[in-house]
């Protein structure tokens, strides 16, 4: 019993979310419309409860691959961003025809057509999947949790709008997803074949003693497969279509949840290696992926006429930036002696940037979701033209969020980018390729400003079209406001998040044999004044 209790200790938040999902599903079938409408509140309640459990509940004592602080950080990030996402999505089910008619009493309640409960259940399941990814200590577990993240999102995309483009994009999303799963499963198989274990800690120790090309190939295939979740080259093809086809709240969900799970999974996989890959084939794989991903994202972003597609390509580009930090690895490998500090820990940078990116992009999507044109959600640049005259508040949120995506100081995205690129620069001594990657990334940031500015330009300089009408969803406005404020305040004064991310990423070295030291831990980060 105590063994079981110990195993369960790490996953109480996930269990809570799973329970919450079941409750939501049951509530969604309630006879009274007013009871059914409680679902979103219940979902929020369980989400908060799981956050409380993550902090105050029993902590796992052993069996984690990632450091416990990092697990906690990701779980809390999932809860915090999850609440914002829930605020964005809370009124979404009411916009579906069948659900709406049933609630207004125009048609009798038919469980086959009303999907409020299912939507929030899937919402919670997917978040639980991300949390489970962080606690994974077995390849099977990792595989199952990654699937738990993705499977609900397919349904969420398909049912998110009554328009056929939602279903089409869901099919695209699903098929490419299935392909990606097969690819990373094959990678997992090869990892198992090379080491004889699926238990990750034993894979780790086996990998430390033998180097086999099979293991490298396995990790390469796994990373390529997981690139689907983070929307990176070569599995990025679905992104623009799906982001455009899904309803905006679901798009915002896709921009954060699968991406986070994917990056956590890649971090786990890379920590199987005896040394963080700063040389060799895996390093080059990630290097090429990073460079291609951001370039493809930004170049394609320039060509779009739809804001949602533009933000989709921006999402691809940001995965590229994140890969730069991922490549830089957990700690600064000091080469020239001396020089080191808080910037240099790539994993911390990735963890930080995931949240920074999520808040910025969710804010932008929330603004889009608040505007309706001809009965549809705002999508094209014309739809948001002149937003500032009609809705100055929404336009202001769009402004700060987009500028944060550009990386303009002193906003949140700027700090994130500094940490990402700075951590890659730390490796310039041992491998000049890192410097070139930073150069590529920096050039890309400059290019990306062009399409971000088009969004701002449309909001502020365009002529109001007159067809826009505000969407009645107060909580979405609140979410937009929260994102806007967070992007500014956390950028100017909030070093707390940086500290948290840094403390949480004491992934240190997967094994103790490497000469590097975790330098970043020596300098406490704190905020004074500002």
């Amino acid at each position: 019993m105590s063994v079981m209790a110990d195993k369960l200790a790490g996953v109480w938040p996930e269990i809570t979310l799973g329970l919450g999902a079941c409750v939501c599903m049951a509530l969604g079938l309630a006879k009274a419309s007013s009871t059914r409408k409680l679902t979103s509140w219940v979902a929020g309640l369980f989400l908060l409860l799981s956050g409380v459990l993550a902090i105050a509940g029993p902590q796992p004592t052993s069996g984690l691959i990632l450091p416990p602080q990092m697990v906690l950080y990701v779980k809390l990030a999932v809860v915090a961003v999850g609440v914002v996402l829930l605020l964005v999505a809370a009124q979404l089910p009411s916009s579906w025809r069948a659900t709406h008619r049933a609630e207004e009493g125009i048609e009798p309640f038919d469980p086959a057509n009303v999907m409020r409960g299912e939507f929030f259940a899937f919402f919670l399941f997917s978040l639980a999947g991300v949390m489970l990814t962080t606690t994974a200590n077995d390849l099977v577990w990792l595989f199952l949790s990654l699937e738990l993240v993705s499977l609900p999102t397919y349904v969420m995309v398909a049912t998110s709008q009554d328009r056929i483009r939602a279903q089409e994009s869901a099919v695209k999303y699903f098929f490419l997803g299935a392909l990606a799963v097969a690819v990373f499963l094959y990678g997992f198989t090869l990892i198992y074949g090379a080491t004889g274990f699926t238990d990750l800690s034993r894979v780790q120790s086996a990998a430390a003693t033998t180097t086999s090309p099979l293991l490298t190939l396995g990790i390469v295939l796994a990373i390529v497969g997981i690139s689907f979740k983070i929307a990176a080259v070569p599995m990025h093809f679905y992104t623009a279509d799906v982001y455009q086809g899904a309803a905006t709240p679901v798009t915002a969900f896709l921009a954060f949840v699968p991406k986070t799970a994917g990056f956590v999974a890649i971090i786990i996989l890379l920590s199987m290696l005896p040394q963080w890959p700063t040389h060799g084939p895996i390093m080059w794989l990630l290097w090429i992926m990073a460079a291609l991903t951001m370039t493809v994202g930004n170049v394609m972003g320039l060509l779009q006429t739809s804001v949602k597609r533009t933000l989709a390509y921006s999402s691809i580009a940001h995965s590229g930036y994140l890969l730069v930090g991922l490549l830089a690895g957990p700690a600064l490998l000091t080469s020239g002696g001396g020089g080191s500090g808080a910037i240099g820990n790539g994993i911390a940078a990735v963890l930080f940037y995931l949240v920074a990116y999520a808040l910025s992009t969710i804010g932008a999507f929330a603004v889009l979701g608040c505007v309706q044109v001809d009965g549809h959600e705002a999508d094209s640049f014309d739809d948001i033209s002149g937003l500032s005259t009609k809705h100055p508040g929404l336009a202001a949120v769009m402004l700060v969020c987009v500028l944060s995506l550009v990386g303009l100081p002193p906003l949140l995205g700027f700090i994130g980018k500094i940490y990402l690129f700075g951590s890659a620069m730390a490796h310039r001594g041992e491998n000049p390729a890192f410097v070139w990657l930073v150069v590529v990334a920096v050039l890309n940031s400059a290019v990306s400003a062009v399409y971000y500015l088009r969004i701002i330009g449309a909001c502020y300089f365009g002529k109001p079209s007159g067809r826009t009408e505000p969407q009645h969803c107060p909580s979405r406005r609140i979410a937009a406001l929260v994102c806007g404020i967070a992007v500014v305040v956390m950028g100017v004064a909030g070093n707390r998040l940086v500290t948290l991310a840094r403390e949480s990423s004491q992934l240190a070295q997967p094994s103790q044999q490497t000469p590097a030291k975790v330098v970043s831990d020596e300098l406490p980060t704190d905020i004074h004044g500002g």
């Binding site: 500090g341 910037i343 700075g422 400003a449 300089f461 500290t499 300098l523 004074h528 500002g530």
Partner: protein, 511 residues
């Protein structure tokens, strides 16, 4: 006093917030005027309190901002920033006065302008590299909106172009900062932490890292060029100048004034504050290349100005040409050249603002800027014509007016560079002669323009133009008197910069 200095930086920001909640357009204008007058008073108090014999950084204050990466909020004033601060605050009052008849979204205009004002003061007064970068970027945004909302027909294009060019520049700067972050902890007295204090970054221990043949010599060369490009874009210098004519043509008059008068000076100031003092060995290595860039800007800008039919575009290209002297004067690494370059910035701040204002006065009435459709303005408004004469002649560099001092000192400084070594004589003479030829070209395009716009008989469609009003005369009088005063007593500027420049030049001089 440090409190006053910090208060000065943020007074406009408070004013901006007040403007947003102002009850009426008139109130917003009054707030902006009061704020700029108060800020001017503050800067004059600071200038009076500054100890000119001691020189160096004064009124310094520092506070830890982001401890993990050792970033501070550090501000202070020295001889390099003092004249520019006074110029900024003085121009600001005039700019608010010049924007008195802006009727479109006045509150937002004034708020954005004051926001920009804080950015400008912050750039000149911050002594921490990261803080400097933040202000440098912050000043971008209001400018983008000021051009993009209140601009002319192609305002969006101009605003985005302005933003992207400057952003590209600041990204170059960012790369250098990432490098500095990892390299400076290796300096002898850094205590293992990155150095952001711009004064420490010019100290011997940091110079040792970036010295020729030192550990980071390659980085120092790259960093020199990257920072140079960042600031040359802002300055702007050929070939990075194409945003400037577009921005000026589309921007409303007061914004053109502040753009030419102060924002361009950020580029020159940053070169003197960062590029040269941080990487002196690189500056010594590449001086010929940089000087050539300067000469190209002088000649090319003048030729372009000559070819324009749009009056405002002509003035914009004259800025490119005049800023070429700044690049040249800095590049040649002589004390005279350095002083000349700095004086040129101040002088151009006055004359270019005045030139754009003169253009604006006519544009507001004629609603076009075609030089060929104008003519005979002098006879229409003799008073305005007189001040215009003074203004454009100051821009041309007529002795006795402020434009002369900077140009002549840069030219003299260029010829002094013969002393840099035997091998350079031919190059120096070529550069010097070409730059001197630029003066002739300047005279050419200004006189030609003056003839076409002001001389001759007034056109019949002038009849319904409103007369130039008192507010406009007041603005041009102030600027005109300043142009005259700085032309006759240039020592005002050199008195302020002298001691600071002695120190600065000691590390730049060619041994």
């Amino acid at each position: 006093m440090p409190t006053l200095l910090n208060l000065m930086i943020f007074t406009p920001l408070i004013g901006a917030l007040l403007c947003l909640v102002a009850p009426s357009k008139q109130a917003a204008k009054s707030i902006a005027l009061v704020v700029s007058v108060v800020t001017l008073a503050m800067s004059l108090v600071l200038a009076a309190q500054y100890d000119y014999h001691a020189g160096g950084v004064q009124f310094e204050s520092a506070m830890m901002w982001i401890k993990g990466i050792n970033v501070e909020y550090r501000t202070g004033m020295d001889g390099l920033s003092l004249p520019l601060i006074v110029l900024t605050t003085a121009l600001s009052v005039l700019v608010v006065a010049a924007s008195w008849n802006i009727e479109k979204m006045t509150k937002a205009f004034m708020a954005l302008y004051l926001f920009l004002y804080t950015g400008m003061l912050g750039v000149f007064l911050s002594l921490d590299m990261v803080l400097f970068y933040v202000f440098f970027e912050v000043s971008l945004l209001p400018m983008y909106f000021l051009i993009g909302i209140w601009g002319g027909p192609r305002k969006e294009y101009a605003a985005i172009k302005f933003f992207l060019y400057t952003l590209a520049g600041s990204i170059c700067l960012l790369v250098v900062m990432l490098g500095l972050y990892h390299i400076t902890p290796n300096a002898a007295d850094s205590g293992g932490k990155p150095i952001w204090n711009m004064m420490t970054l010019q100290s011997d221990s940091v110079h040792a890292l970036f010295a020729k043949g030192g550990t980071y010599w390659v980085f120092a060369q790259w960093a020199f060029w990257l920072t140079l490009v960042a600031f040359l874009i802002k300055l702007p210098a050929v070939p990075f100048h194409t945003w400037l004519p577009d921005a000026h043509v589309e921007a409303p008059t007061p914004i053109s004034m502040i753009l030419a008068g102060v924002l361009l000076k950020m580029g020159g100031y940053a070169m003197m504050r960062i590029t040269w003092p941080f990487f002196p060995d690189s500056a010594r290595l590449f001086w010929v290349c940089v000087a050539t860039l300067g000469v190209i800007a002088i000649i090319y800008g003048a030729l372009c100005a000559m070819a324009q039919s749009d009056w405002k575009k002509l003035v914009a290209y004259s800025s490119v040409s005049h800023m070429g002297y700044v690049t040249l004067g800095l590049a040649v690494l002589t004390r005279t050249g350095f002083d000349g370059a700095y004086f040129q910035m101040i002088a151009h701040g006055i004359t270019s603002a005045m030139m754009f204002f003169m253009v604006g006065v006519v544009y507001e009435r004629a609603h076009h800027r075609e030089i060929d459709r104008l003519g005979g303005i002098w006879l229409k408004w003799p008073g305005y014509g007189g001040w215009s004469l003074l203004c454009f002649f100051a821009g041309m560099g007529l002795p006795g007016l402020c434009g002369f001092i900077g140009e002549i000192m840069v030219l003299l400084g260029t010829f002094e560079a013969v002393g840099h070594g035997a091998g350079h004589t031919t190059i120096v003479y070529t550069l010097g002669v070409l730059a001197a030829f630029g003066v002739v070209l300047t005279a050419g395009y200004i006189l030609w323009m003056f003839q076409r716009v002001y001389m001759g008989l007034p056109k019949p469609d002038y009849d319904h133009y409103e007369p130039v009003n008192t507010r406009e005369y007041a603005i041009m009088t102030v600027l005109g008197v300043l142009a005259l005063v700085f032309g006759i007593v240039p020592m005002i500027v050199f008195h302020a910069t002298g001691v600071t420049f002695n120190h600065l030049f000691a590390m730049l001089a060619v041994q």
